[in-house]
Amino acid sequence: MAEREIYLDNAATTKPHPAVVEAMTRALTQEFGNPSSLHHKGLAAERLVKDAREAVARTLDVAPEEIVFTSGGTESNTLAIRGVARLSKGRHIVTTAVEHSSVLTPIRRLAEEGYEVTELPVDGEGRVSPDRLAQALRADTILASVMAVNNELGTVQPLEAIGRVILGHAAGGRPVYFHVDAVQAWGKIPLRPKAWGVDLMSISGHKVHGPKGAGALYVRKGVRLAPLLGGGDQEGGIRPGTENVPGIAGLGAAASLLGADLSDVAGRMTDLRDRLRRAIAAIPEVRINTPDRGAAPHILNASFPGVRGETLLHRLEMDGIYTSTGSACHSHDPKPSHVLLAIGLPPDLCTSSLRFSLNRFTTSDEIDAAAAVVARAVADLRTLVR
């Protein structure tokens, strides 16, 4: 393998920040108490959890009591969706065709259990229309779940407008809960759940240099959720079980690192991503799938006709460059990504797509080096498939 590694798969996961590792190590080696214990060791652990809760709440501009710690994005999404359904009378749920599987699967499972589900289509950039969403809402709609940033394309959804539509609809009768999967958005674009009328918002630690297995769900004050698990009264009874204190401490440290300078960081990432976009776009026949405007700063998705995404991925890996394909290719059955199909990409372009995703420490040197290798690799692989 190459001596130099350029990690451009940050939408999959990020490298934990040293401050995160330090916070977790402390929680594992020193403050190892159970927050529920009455003695000092318990109190010390409880403080770690409390500090983390405040740090996470600050990033969303919400109250600490509105943060429920979970094991990550999948649990947050499932808890939001099933938690609302269990306590609501209506039978209808609205979502989009481009959601992450951790939203689509719980919702489809509810559909099997008798709920009616509307999966809204998206435009060629992967964006859902607030007007269409307005038309889909019914008297018995209980939940609308729309992601903030699409994980494959980087497309940002018009959450503010959607929030207005939902509030307007609810004004007449029963409320429609608004859930946002913000796993790819946290630390990349400003998130203001209060201002947008969001009731539930999922975030995950490991996408922002925090640990895997630690995430949170913002639950607006006054929203009631049925817990997925039975047990003690941790996390207000919504998420029972002894707190994952090391994970939560790491999540808190990652949240603190997000700081107040999001626009600086996002601006720098956008510049680098656009630098990569220009270099990739210069390769013959390439199709850039990430929209020019209204995309998160860290994702670039492109299709390379004539080259299989998986092969290109492994070819780049030989030069130490780590990326991701949109689709899981099986030997005789390359299954194109549902997101790329939803934006109308032909199946062969879906299976020849690659996702590059940056982090806030990515450098222009890395981008230039990666772009040069991609151009070389694509040319090389194309000579093999005529």
């Binding site: 092969t311 492994h314 070819r315 890996e317 030989m318 899981a328 290719c329 030997s331 093999l384």
Partner: protein, 409 residues
């Protein structure tokens, strides 16, 4: 207290002057199979292998079940050759069995008298012991066919009693049949073929053709995991991972697409043909099954076979896919084989491969390839991994240069 097992072997009993070699190998393999479980003792006695091991009997049985050459085995109690002792032990065993499984209503006693100094014949012993069991457990009825409970008594140097017979894999002791290279892809068939060859005593050296970046690192991982399963029966294996990328590349650019698969298989044969003598291997083992895919028609097999002078063993040649799948399931390789990763063969398969390529046209199609240089280069960039039941250790052997490989000739 150690548990004692009595192992029965089949075919070895028919061997002539070299029977000793087969039995010693079997005993050594049995000892190795259980060595990490606890202190053990293995000995040959009166046409059986006896193993005592201080370990969980279930764990020990799990290991013995995989030893080639073992036809069946039982966990036994051994007592002195005395009718009274044998009878009371048999009654005790029957009582235990009935306590464990109250649904038992019929039984049979089966005696084998190898030690003819024992005063009663086999039949007499069986009926004597049977009567005693019925006296103690009157609810049990004797039944000769398909009894719920079979009490087996073997009268040898001591008396060995058991109530359960567990099937072994059969075959011949591993290591008694020479060496062969076994071509292993990540698919269902090739590990089963390798297993069959190994079951006939052949030491297998698995060879995998790796085409990174056209196939993923995970497909290699899959082969390692398949070899770990085989290693449960064979002991440590040396897996050769041949760097096949440049050969694939050459075929892809220089051979017309309908014949690429046949040429690719011929290149695999050539690599093995060069590797085999260095490793003392006398044959190749493949997972081909007649007519299964385009490269397994008789015409294709003939064209592929012509690239090597070594005998090619094809244990699955007459098996149907469903039979192979069932066998893979039984061996324990199936779940690994169906993991969704590309193997070397699937990525480069053209849409319409020739099903009846002649040797002549195949040779013309590959004329542009510098086969010698390609094979040399592929072997020079290959690596060897030492695979045990618990994992792979690249450090133990590591990548080998062509020269170092030559040295082991």
């Amino acid at each position: 207290m150690p548990s004692t097992f009595l192992l029965r072997y089949g075919e070895i009993a028919l061997k002539g002057q070299n029977q000793g070699f087969f039995l010693e190998t079997l005993a050594r393999n049995v000892a190795r199979a259980v060595e990490d479980l606890g202190p053990s003792e293995v000995r040959l006695a009166f046409g059986r292998v006896l193993v005592s091991v201080e370990a969980d009997p279930e764990a020990a049985a799990g290991r013995l079940r995989k030893v080639f050459g073992v036809v069946s085995f039982s966990r036994v109690r051994d007592v002195s050759l005395d009718l009274g002792t044998v009878t009371s032990e048999a009654v005790a065993l029957a009582e235990e069995a009935v306590t464990r499984q109250p649904e038992i209503v019929t039984f049979k006693v089966d005696t084998r008298r190898a030690e003819k100094r024992f005063p009663l014949t086999s039949m007499e012993t069986s009926s004597e012991v049977g009567r005693a069991i019925h006296e103690r457990l009157p609810q049990l009825r004797a039944r000769m066919r398909d009894p719920d409970l079979l009490v087996r008594i073997e009268l040898r140097d001591r008396a060995y009693l058991s109530t359960k017979t567990i099937p072994g894999p059969g075959g011949l002791p591993y290591g008694t049949g020479g060496r062969a290279l076994a071509l292993v892809s990540g698919g269902i068939d090739s590990p089963v073929a390798a297993w069959y060859a190994a079951r006939r005593g052949v030491v297998i050296i698995p060879v995998h053709f790796h085409s990174f970046p056209f196939t993923s690192e995970r497909s290699k991982e899959k082969v390692v995991d398949l070899c770990r399963v085989l290693a449960q029966s064979t002991g440590p294996l040396d897996l050769w991972v041949v760097h096949f990328t440049e050969i694939q590349r050459a075929i892809q650019t220089q051979v017309k697409d309908a014949l690429r698969v046949v040429v690719m298989r011929r290149m695999m044969m050539r690599v093995c043909d060069r590797l085999a003598p260095r490793l003392g291997a006398l044959a190749l083992v493949t997972g081909e099954s007649l007519g299964q895919v385009a490269s397994q028609t008789l015409e294709s097999i003939a064209a592929i076979n012509a690239a090597t002078t070594l005998p090619v063993l094809r244990p699955l040649i007459g098996a149907d896919k469903t039979e192979i799948m069932a066998q893979a399931e039984a061996i324990g390789t199936y779940a690994i084989s169906i993991r969704p990763h590309e193997d070397c063969c699937s990525l480069f398969v053209p849409a319409h491969p020739r099903t009846q390529p002649s040797l002549d046209e195949t040779q013309r199609a590959e004329a542009a390839l510098d086969t010698d240089a390609l094979v040399r280069d592929a072997l020079a960039r290959s690596e060897r991994l030492r695979i045990t039941r618990s994992g792979a250790d690249p450090a133990a052997i590591g990548p080998v240069s062509d020269r170092r490989a030559e040295g082991t000739r």
